[in-house]
Amino acid sequence: MRTATTSLEAAAERHLDDVYRYVLYLTRDPHAAEDLTAETFERAARLWHRFDPARGSAQTWLCQIARTVALDHLRSEERRRRREGRYATLNRQSATAGLESPTLSPWLQSALASLSAADREVIALRILLDLDAADAARVLGISPTACTTRLSRALQKLEEKVRPHLVA
């Protein structure tokens, strides 16, 4: 996708849900995903003058920003948990219960929650956002081959978790 986007507003209109889904899959927290999506677009608004359509689509560019924002969030969360010790452990246990999105079926939420964020993000980029391997690899900072391998591995894990529901 190499269409030149003329305004961030149009790009946001088109890719806002993509960014939200990606961040939600990364964090598993709808509230955090909303905040991080908003922060992503705030940062995008500041950096929009540096966006070069020739180097990639707006969707890829926004996902790269969203990834940086989400990683910052995950890092700060980890630091916070480390500081808070036992409470954090409990909090984490509760957080691993599922991907708390009202639009996802509980069994899919549970299966996704069993995956690592690395697995979930490649699924989000390749399946939900429908990025091709090259664009997804650019967002992840890896090669397209590694991206494809990572996707297969992640889908394999997820498929093992949800197989009974799919068969049903």
């Binding site: 946001a12 849900d17 540096r50 070069d52 995950l74 964020a117 399946i127 091709d132 997820l158």
Partner: protein
């Protein structure tokens, strides 16, 4: 699904299920986000992005270098011929009376049979005469025979051989450097005969006048002889004291020593003047043709290439000096990036 790397068919149903249950941003949050994006500055679509500028910098630098070389070359071409022969045109200032140098030329080659002798020693004056003759001979066989002939000629004319250096470094190529002393009265005949041994490539004759120093020496000798005669007269007087006698005898001895030295000097000058030094250089190699004065275009090209070479040298020098720092910077940059990616990946694996 991307057509270039399709997702495995095994996961098609799972992928469809995932796409079916795509979460969406709540409408309230959506409106807030869209409001923040309305005032964003438009993206740059022109050519002046930092990356493009960096990419353009290299060809621009190369173009600038070429332009500089072109300007220097054109300037050189339009500024007229270069005076490269300043050093060569300087006249020798030795105490020679006459210096003649015959460069190889068609005329000189044709004049082989004229038996060029150069200026002759002036009769009646004492002179130091030296001549250098450079001759081309045909091959090493001819070189050997010519060398022998030159030595025989020198002896026949009453001269002698000072030195001979005979070299044949490669088959068919060789040279001989012969130094001869020829009686000055027969040096003209010698040169005539030597010039017939091969094709004259160059001839040089040098004459230094020794008459003046010889006359000075003669005058000094005469004065000392007169002084010695006076001293002898004084010593012959019967009434001189012993101390006066001793003083006069001391002066007499000194004058005799001086006289002996001056006479030796005069003898040496006469000996030098009696024989001319002839340097005969024989070679089998054709002389290289002197390079023609380059034209304007050639000069422009030479100067332009020179400038480019200098620019390349400066660039190479700068690169060599800066390379350790650049390598450190690159290693730091790529190392920190790899570390950051690794840390991100571990964080995502844990999350």
């Amino acid at each position: 699904m991307s057509p270039d790397t399709p997702i495995d068919e095994r996961f098609a149903e799972l992928a469809a299920q995932l796409r079916l249950e795509t979460p969406a941003m709540p409408e309230r949050a959506r409106r807030e986000v869209l409001a923040t994006t309305a005032a964003a500055a438009p993206p740059q679509t022109g050519w002046f992005s930092p990356r493009r500028l960096a990419v353009l910098a290299v060809p621009a630098a190369v173009g600038l270098s070429l332009a500089l070389a072109l300007v220097v070359g054109l300037n050189s071409a339009l500024s007229g011929p270069r005076s490269d022969n300043r050093a060569a045109s300087a006249k020798p200032t030795a105490s020679t009376e006459q210096l003649e140098l015959v460069a190889p030329s068609e005329d000189a080659r044709d004049s082989n049979r004229l038996r060029s002798t150069g200026p002759a020693p002036t009769g009646g004056r004492v002179q130091d005469y030296s001549a250098t003759l450079r001759l081309l001979v045909d091959g090493t066989d001819d070189l050997s025979a010519t060398t022998q002939r030159a030595l025989r000629t020198a002896r026949r004319l009453g001269g002698y051989v000072v030195s001979v250096e005979y070299l044949t470094p490669e088959p068919g190529e060789g040279s001989a450097a012969i130094r001869l002393r020829i009686p000055v009265s027969r040096v003209q005949a010698a040169i005539v005969q030597f010039s017939g041994l091969g094709r004259i490539l160059a001839q040089e004759t040098r004459i230094s006048d020794l008459q003046q120093p010889l006359d000075d020496l003669t005058r000094q000798i005469r004065r000392i002889q007169e002084r010695i005669a006076q001293l002898r007269v004084q010593l012959g007087r019967p009434n001189i004291s012993s101390s006066e006698r001793a003083r006069l005898e001391k002066h007499l001895a000194s004058a005799r020593n001086n006289l002996a030295g001056l006479r030796r000097e005069r003898t040496e000058i006469n000996r030098r003047a009696a024989y001319a030094t002839v340097a005969l250089d024989l070679t089998t190699q054709e002389p290289r043709q002197p390079e023609a004065t380059p034209g304007r275009l050639r000069r422009a090209l030479d100067d332009a290439v020179g400038i480019l070479a200098a620019e390349l040298a400066i660039a190479a020098y700068a690169l060599i000096v800066a390379s350790p720092f650049l390598l450190l910077l690159a290693a730091g940059f790529f190392g920190s990036r790899a570390y950051r990616r690794h840390a991100d990946q571990r964080l995502l694996e844990r999350a």
